[in-house]
């Protein structure tokens, strides 16, 4: 178990808000290289808190977060900024700056390495700009660099969020409910894009998902959180009704119904694009052919 084998290792992490019960009580997850983990669990199970604690957006109470062997929980502020760059985060509801352009939002991912005055004057490194254009092509937003983000559809916004995370040059992606605000067809496309990019760039990822069929379809390893503890850790094939019952507790009936239904929308449903924005339809579809969805 050398550290090189784990781009990210979470050891016995405890997170508590105020004086209440811990939200995360002793979670350990060792992420292998290029490994994609789907994190499932009921609404209050602590999935988002876990990801936020890894970034130290919430300060953990105890435990270790080892990023390439360096314990993030002990890093002083300035060094933490550097470490945060290496953890690319994709957010629920995209968390874009709506009034800025697509390009500004993507380049916001470089703010960890761009100086303050350069950021004020929007004088970004030409290499970063070149890379941003490449990433926009990759996520299927060619030609939209000067559109304001509030003009984009939900799926397009999430693509901007993905590009913003990638331009950080992360080693690990932390993805928080990437499909929470999207329709089923777009959800499948976005999940396909994220997992494809992970394999292209050799990224490991933890993806929070409330949608069990989606997790089954895209994540080779699934971890179920229950009340801040790991209640399941294994491949999708081991995720049977009994496990879902345990992980979701009261929500089990709903989760079960989801799991019993179709595993995500069918391929035909995915054809129609949801984008009202300009010129995105063709680029969006061509950027991720249906065959590469990994289903």
């Amino acid at each position: 178990m050398s550290e090189q084998q784990h781009p990210l290792r979470i050891d016995d992490l405890v997170v508590r808000y105020g004086r209440g019960e811990p939200v995360i009580s002793g979670v350990s997850i060792a992420l292998g290289p290029k490994e994609i983990v789907g994190l499932i669990g009921a609404s209050a199970a602590g999935k988002s808190t876990l990801l936020r604690a890894v970034q130290r957006l919430v300060e953990p109470e105890s435990g270790q977060i080892l990023l390439d062997g360096v314990d993030l929980t002990r890093l002083p502020r300035e060094e933490l900024r550097g470490a945060r760059r290496r953890l690319g985060m994709i957010f629920q509801e995209h968390a874009l700056i709506e009034r800025l352009t697509v390009m500004e939002n993507v380049l916001a991912g470089t703010l960890g390495r761009t100086g303050f005055w350069r950021s004020v004057r929007r004088r970004f490194d030409p290499d970063d700009i070149e890379e941003a254009f490449g990433l926009l092509d990759r996520v299927g937003l060619t030609g939209l660099e000067d559109s304001r983000c509030d003009e984009l559809s939900g799926g397009q916004k999430q693509r901007v969020g993905i590009a913003r995370a990638l331009i950080q040059h992360p080693d690990v992606l932390l993805v928080d409910e990437p499909t929470a605000s999207l329709d089923p067809a777009t959800s499948v496309r976005i999940m396909g894009l994220i997992t494809e990019i992970c394999s292209e760039r050799n990224l490991a990822a933890i993806i929070n998902l409330h949608d069990v069929p989606l997790a089954r379809r895209f994540c080779p390893r699934i971890i179920g959180l229950l009340e801040g503890r790991v209640a399941f850790d294994g491949p999708p094939s081991a995720l049977d009704d009994a496990v879902l019952q345990r992980v979701y507790g009261d929500e089990a009936t709903r989760a079960h119904a989801d799991a019993a239904g179709e595993a995500g929308p069918t391929e035909e449903e995915e054809e129609e694009e949801e984008e009202p924005g300009r010129g995105a339809d063709t680029t969006g579809a061509s950027a991720e052919g249906e065959d590469s969805l990994g289903g």
Partner: protein, 266 residues
Amino acid sequence: MAAELTHRWRPPRVIESATHRRLILGGLALYGLLALVTVEIDLARIAEGLTRTSAFFAGWLRPDFVTRWTDIRAGLLESLAMTAVATAAALLLSIPLGLGAARNLVPGPVYMTARAVLAVARAFHEILVAILFVAMFGFGPFAGVVTLVVASVGFLGKLLAEAVEEVDPAPLEALTAAGASWGSRVVFGVLPQIMPRVMGLALYRLDINFRESAVIGLVGAGGIGATLTTAFSRYEFESVSAILILIIGMVFGAEVISGRLRQRLL
């Protein structure tokens, strides 16, 4: 059917006890009556004033732009200059203060300090501030500009701080997660979100400052207000009327221009 009604409902009263309610209302009525009695009403003085009022309205109907035009023009231009300088300076000062007075951006001590500065800036009415600065800097537009800056900083700073506190925290968190510094987070995450408010408030304050520049001129702080007082004290109601009409016209013009600007900018 009425007999089957089992629930009666009335909105809960602010003051539960009927006796208390009557006492309070009675007390208020009594105080109002006594207060009215203490105000001396001098009918003879009112009658005298009425003739002056008629002279005033007569003057109002015959505005005279010509006789004192040089003074009026100088006063207006001075007011405009005061307004522009004061609003611009106040905007520059109030953005850092507004950021500092936002609970979601800064640590406690900075927040308290910035809030205290803003509270002091808003503590007194412009007239009182103007009297103070006229005493400090002497008569003239400089005292007026400083007055308007103080008042505008209090106004803009407080409202900007509130706008900053209402920004969507998600993009800020995303920037933090990307390793952005505090400054970059403000520039990228906060300013774009509050910019429409900043522009709107600055334009509104421009408008207020022009009107205030007429008022603080009355206590010697320069601008069209000074011209207005002079005209009043000389009983030149025709010139007063001309000045008032010009002020109304300019405020109206400012309204039109700021409306256009807002449409373009937001």
